[in-house]
């Protein structure tokens, strides 16, 4: 439904289709017949938010409950925001067109740190007080979940409730509690105290932090019966786990415009830089039957002619070949193509290649992550140079001429030799192309290397690591650029400035709330976009708030320091992370979960790969 005031400005903005709803399978209910209105907010544009699988799952789960109406809300792009402010149009939900100001829940998904300013800006646009302490009455409960909730502290002053871990069950429990509390006329504080008793819920206002003179945390203590340790929630049986049979099908083109089928959660590999690889443990697979049925239903209900199999590392699915065979039984006839993102260098077998050949030959992407074997051992990537060359040969012989390689710079223990290694590896791929006998006739090869700057993240073995300074990172980028001698290699690098700010918020504590509040006051938004981001302006804010960003980003931390997220339990123990960190500094790798259990702690959930026979 388009609200009348919004309608007037739609023809003056880019892509008005972002703001109107009305898509196939979107859920419109009668607002007088529902008890709880939930605004599911994605703090970025429509095209990005609509590509997110988590939102599709929760949207479906919520709307399956007759008394809940969950609607989607996205951050309006700059032009739209300006017009909305000019005309006093509050942020609205797409399904009803209603302002979200008086909704019961305003839920955010936190996918990346640089979206925090959008979270606050969206509250502001909705005329909702940004700080929890300024919101009154049993409404406007601001909730947040998603990967960044594993260090919720920078947002502690703004968010009432964090959902820790997977949201399928805990979100509904909290909504149900809210409804009961309202029936019994309980107030906001009483509701939050009760919610804190639910496993997987963190209510930041119920905890107090004390600091040491050197700025580190002295103590973090629960008040009013809140648990000292908050445990994550997770779904153990993926075959019984809810999966939508329907996606809202956007009318305008979005980033990932296709059906998405989850095949497993977690990752067996344990790459030491990767947060997802630790916080989603243990690996839990869906059966081939379930995946096959869900894929068919999704394609039938959406009309998409492409399904992407989603996981952290597709080729690690135990029955990947059988699964592809099963899907191919009907996919080709119905002109549906199957795509496999997240393929590991060592998972690119002829069998898989055969079964996904419907994929257009636009380019292949692999992520060796580091240039030398030593560096790859440090990060536990467990990929060898000869594997990359074999894989590339296969691809070149099968007709590909473009390869993209992803790397990180600024990893722990990295030397300039390791940085040069990236260029050498890429050169080797170029040489491999010319050695291939069946390479496409008369065509050259293009190898694109992209480097991002390493951002140490909570719940990884590198959570103590002091990030390289921006100067160091830029130096390494230039050094790499100078090492490349051929035009067959293109080099792209991510701006080190954004990685610095990401590192500050990824491992920040509550005191950063002050900076975020200032940022919101000054109208910061879309910091994940180069259109808006300016580190210079951020440094001014840190200055104004008397906070040293280097304390969070580049300072090396000690193993015995209390970290802001230590009170959260994601299954993997701190003891294990310390052990892994020490192994990293000795260039020693760790075997993956299917080869050997390394006692990370996730086995306590009693399922998934931890209980498979090895």
């Amino acid at each position: 439904m388009i609200n009348k005031e919004v309608e007037k400005i739609l023809l003056n903005v880019q892509k008005p289709g972002r703001y109107v709803g009305g898509e196939l399978n979107s859920v419109v209910k009668n607002k007088n017949e529902v008890d709880v209105r939930f605004a599911f907010c994605f703090p970025d544009t429509y095209e990005i938010g609509m590509s997110h699988l988590g939102m599709k799952i929760l949207y479906s789960i919520f709307n399956n409950v007759p008394y809940i109406w969950c609607e989607r809300v996205f951050a309006p792009w700059l032009d739209m925001e300006e017009l909305m402010k000019e005309r006093n149009i509050p942020l609205f939900a797409l399904e009803s067109g209603d302002p979200i100001t008086d909704f019961d829940f305003i839920g955010f998904t936190l996918q990346y740190e640089l979206s925090y300013t959008n979270v606050l800006n969206m509250l502001k646009l909705a005329n909702i007080p940004i700080k929890s302490c300024d919101r009154r009455g049993l409404k406007q409960i601001v909730a947040a979940g998603g990967p960044c909730a594993c260090n919720p502290e920078p947002l502690a002053e703004f968010v009432d409730i964090f959902f820790i871990g997977e949201g399928e069950e805990v979100d509904l429990e909290v909504i149900e509690l809210y409804r009961k509390c309202r029936d019994k006329h309980k107030n906001r504080e009483e509701f939050l105290e009760l919610a804190a008793q639910i496993t997987g819920v963190y209510v930041p206002s119920l905890y107090e932090t004390e600091y040491n003179d050197n700025g580190t945390i002295k103590s973090f203590s629960p008040q009013k019966n809140a648990p000292a340790v908050v445990e994550k929630r997770l779904m153990m049986n993926m075959d019984n786990c809810f999966y939508p049979d329907n996606f809202v099908v956007p009318n305008i083109e979005i980033v990932h415009d296709r059906a998405v089928q989850e095949i497993f959660r977690g990752c067996i590999r344990g790459c030491r830089f990767c947060q997802a690889g630790f916080i989603y443990r243990p690996v839990r697979e869906k059966s081939i039957e379930t995946i096959n049925n869900q894929c068919k239903t999704l394609c039938n209900n959406t009309g998409y002619d492409e399904v992407s199999l989603s996981s952290l590392s597709s080729s690690d699915y135990t029955g990947i070949i059988k699964l592809l065979e099963k899907l191919n039984e009907w996919a080709a006839d119905e002109k549906v193509s199957i795509s496999l993102p997240s393929l590991r260098v060592d998972g690119f077998s002829d069998d898989i290649l055969d079964k996904i050949k419907t994929v257009r030959k636009s380019g292949l992407t692999f992520a060796p992550e580091a240039g030398t074997q030593r560096m790859r051992d440090v990060i536990n990537k467990n990929v060898f140079e000869n594997e990359l060359m074999e894989t590339c040969s296969k691809a070149f012989n099968a007709g590909w001429t473009k390869v993209k390689l992803y790397f990180m710079i600024g990893l722990p223990t990295e030397t300039y030799e390791d940085v040069e290694g990236i260029a050498h590896l890429a050169q080797n791929v170029v040489d491999t192309y010319y050695r291939c006998e069946n390479k496409p006739k008369g065509k050259g090869v293009t190898v694109t290397i992209s480097t991002s700057s390493f951002v140490p993240k909570p719940f990884t073995p590198f959570q103590w690591f002091g990030q390289n300074t921006r100067e160091e990172l830029m130096d390494k980028q230039h050094h790499l650029k100078d090492t490349i001698t051929t035009k067959k290699i293109n080099y792209n690098y991510h701006d080190a400035d954004t990685s610095f700010l990401e590192a500050v918020f990824a491992r920040g504590d509550r005191r950063l709330g002050k900076v975020l509040e200032l940022a919101c006051e000054k109208g910061f938004h879309f910091d994940g976009w180069s259109d808006c981001f300016s580190l210079e302006k951020w440094l001014e804010l840190f200055d104004e708030a008397s906070i040293d960003p280097d304390f969070y980003a580049t300072r090396q931390r000690e193993f015995d320091e209390i970290l802001p997220w230590d009170f959260l339990d994601y299954g993997v123990t701190k003891k294990y992370l310390i052990k892994e960190c020490k192994k990293a500094y000795k260039d020693t790798t760790t075997e993956h979960c299917r080869l050997k259990c390394n006692n990370c702690g996730a086995a306590k959930y009693g399922g998934g790969v931890c209980c498979e026979r090895r």
Partner: protein, 219 residues
């Protein structure tokens, strides 16, 4: 193989999707409704569907059409029903026919334009449009791909025009050249009004029909 013309309306939320997005939307619905579509046979195989006269973003369409090719015969009613199940509610298929005319025969299109303004009431808007239409020429700036910005006179292109009072504004019924040879977007007329009278105008445009060179309804 059989050519089929699918007639539909484009309104509500769906009037805010671009032509490219409409194309994608239709192809998805055709795929979902399992209609036996003919696919092109080139290097990049794709289902065949064309639109005789695309609609501008923001316009409502009362009688839009899309041409497809079927590999085998198919009940037209079934196509209509299935498509409507698979399309967002803003796009409704209301008829499926065999094409009688060729797409390139389209020469004119008719529009219904609702105008209103915060700065001018119904009487003032009537006065403005009357005056504008009585001028010897109506000059507007038109951006062209080849020649950049140039000034053109749109007066000779106005084939037929009728103006009515409306609550809070006016309604203009206008027929303008459309199609592959000459195409005059009705927004140009609104831009001219805004330009001559420095008034911000809200518009709501509906394309109501398409005609051949003799003003015979396109079928």
């Amino acid at each position: 193989m059989k050519d089929v013309r699918i007639w539909f309306t484009k309104d509500d939320e769906c009037r805010f999707i671009s032509h490219l997005d409409l194309n994608r939307c239709m192809l998805r619905a055709l795929h979902k409704s399992k209609i036996p579509l003919w696919h092109t046979e080139g290097f990049n195989v794709h289902p065949y569907a064309t639109f005789p006269l695309p609609l501008s973003l923001g316009f409502r369409g009362e009688k839009e059409c899309m041409d497809i090719r079927l590999v085998e015969d198919c009940d037209y009613n079934l196509i209509l029903e299935n498509m409507n199940k698979c399309l967002p509610t803003g796009i409704r298929v209301f008829d499926v026919t065999e094409p009688e005319m060729k797409a390139k025969e389209i020469t004119f299109a008719s529009f219904k334009i609702k105008l209103s303004s915060d700065e001018a009431n119904t009487d003032r808007l009537l006065e403005m449009t009357d005056e504008l239409l009585n001028k010897d020429e109506i000059l507007i700036e038109k951006k062209t791909k080849k020649k950049g910005i140039r000034e053109i006179d749109i007066k000779p292109f106005i084939e037929k025009i009728r103006i009515e009072r409306n609550i809070g504004g006016i309604i203009i019924y206008i027929i303008l050249p459309a199609g592959s040879v000459t195409n005059i977007n009705p927004l140009l007329f609104i831009k001219a009004l805004e330009r001559y009278y420095s008034t911000k105008i809200y518009y709501d445009v509906t394309k109501t029909n398409m005609y051949d060179k003799n003003l015979k309804t396109f079928k």
